[in-house]
Symmetry: C2
Subunit: 254 residues, 2 copies
Amino acid sequence: MIYTFANQKGGVGKTTTAINVAAFLAAREKKVLLVDVDPQANASSSLGVARDAALYSIYHALIDQTPLDQIVMLTKRLHLDLAPASAALAGAEVELVAAENREYLLKQILAPIAPRYDYVIIDSPPSLGLLTLNALVAADAVIIPIQCEYLALEGLSQLLHTVELVQQSLNPQLRIGGMVMTMYDSRTHLALQVIEEVAKHFPALIFRSIIPRSVRIAEAPSYGEPLVSFDPKSRGAQAYEALTVELLERELQI
Amino acid sequence: MIYTFANQKGGVGKTTTAINVAAFLAAREKKVLLVDVDPQANASSSLGVARDAALYSIYHALIDQTPLDQIVMLTKRLHLDLAPASAALAGAEVELVAAENREYLLKQILAPIAPRYDYVIIDSPPSLGLLTLNALVAADAVIIPIQCEYLALEGLSQLLHTVELVQQSLNPQLRIGGMVMTMYDSRTHLALQVIEEVAKHFPALIFRSIIPRSVRIAEAPSYGEPLVSFDPKSRGAQAYEALTVELLERELQI
Ligand SMILES: Nc1ncnc2c1ncn2[C@@H]1O[C@H](COP(=O)(O)OP(=O)(O)OP(=O)(O)O)[C@@H](O)[C@H]1O
Ligand SMILES: Nc1ncnc2c1ncn2[C@@H]1O[C@H](COP(=O)(O)OP(=O)(O)OP(=O)(O)O)[C@@H](O)[C@H]1O
Ligand SMILES: [Mg+2]
Ligand SMILES: [Mg+2]
């Protein structure tokens, strides 16, 4: 199963959600590959892999056809492998424009290796450009993290429109796996209004598990650890574990 | 004076800082044009202009050479005009790749109209693609909002490298106007560490004014108002006013 975490709005918790769901799946002994297609390489560094530490990155697979086998690396966690990003990816959007099958490249490079894993989790950049398009075309389902803030609602229709376009032509199997409300701050009335708004329009998609705004979640990346090992008893860890369980339950109903 | 607010890291407060500095400059009777080149059009909606309300947007100026005069619209605030974005901009990055002078287009469309304003403030998307490049080439100076979080430090070297490349070839006059620390949460030790880190490496660039994390700041966009009118006595408004004053002081020293 290939999940892409996408939302063109910046800073809504795409990376944080991708790495923590990946780590909780690995903790349940699922074999997981995390693919970082964001030039910021935050998923890589949140797992303790410095941005340009790896010799090869997703950039080389997309641009030079380097086999993914040579790129995938082990992380500190059992059952969780990583295909790292690098800064060079920032140029890939322009370099890929003229490529043959430019939207299918990631799907093609994942094809030979995906069967070895139970899950492939793809973290995408904050845009609707070619890298995110590649991530949507390669995926079975897209998970949409939504920050509990007013501006985060604004871009939702644009994202859903893009998903529809992808479903119509590039990837008809693409499903919307769900919408995850993130950074919920119970001190603000606005946050609850945003959740109610999303629940009203997308009752079947919104996950019950709501991720609280929490200092421990923001601190974990500086230790290069996911929450399951950084602070497993924290509210953040419990929320992400509940989300992972919900995701597994939804799969049974497909 | 043309300022661009840029940082490829998502959700760090680019839009919030751009609109509030623009509004405080307008409140001091400076004539200000706010230019929104982010396809999310958050700057437009934070000032009460719905994303596709305007007939024309920056997209039409960049792609169809529609004169900026036809695009600029008045906002509720005196002395603050807006050149709105639209969702169509999301496609502009790909459409612009083959254009002649593709990095200079924004600079060229601003040239005839910029002299009518004391300030042009440009809000850019969370990427280092062609739209942000256009914003850096058009600017006299770039202001870098930095969220007080660990992941926000990660991308700083990549952004500074891009600014250097622009200074070497596309826009030798480009200065770094400063670095603004945003969403400072005094409850977390990490936030202070991030500020100390930035102050250590960039003592001459970091602004003294630090923007606190505050619910009122996040609520203002849902009312379509900048802080100067939404809640002028709030901590957020006072911090943004102090920042604006500091920016004006720095100009005197150039
Ligand atoms: N629930 C949370 N509580 C507090 N901080 C959080 C939470 N989730 C994420 N963060 C922090 O907020 C910032 C943004 O999160 P993250 O980087 O995961 O978002 P993103 O959508 O991947 O951003 P980008 O658009 O830049 O890729 C990070 O500094 C992260 O550590
Ligand atoms: N100081 C603050 N305190 C609390 N919330 C804030 C603050 N500054 C911005 N916000 C909120 O945080 C979110 C991100 O801010 P904003 O949209 O300005 O960042 P951005 O860098 O422009 O994002 P993007 O990368 O998507 O363009 C918004 O919902 C905004 O209302
Ligand atoms: Mg991210
Ligand atoms: Mg913005």
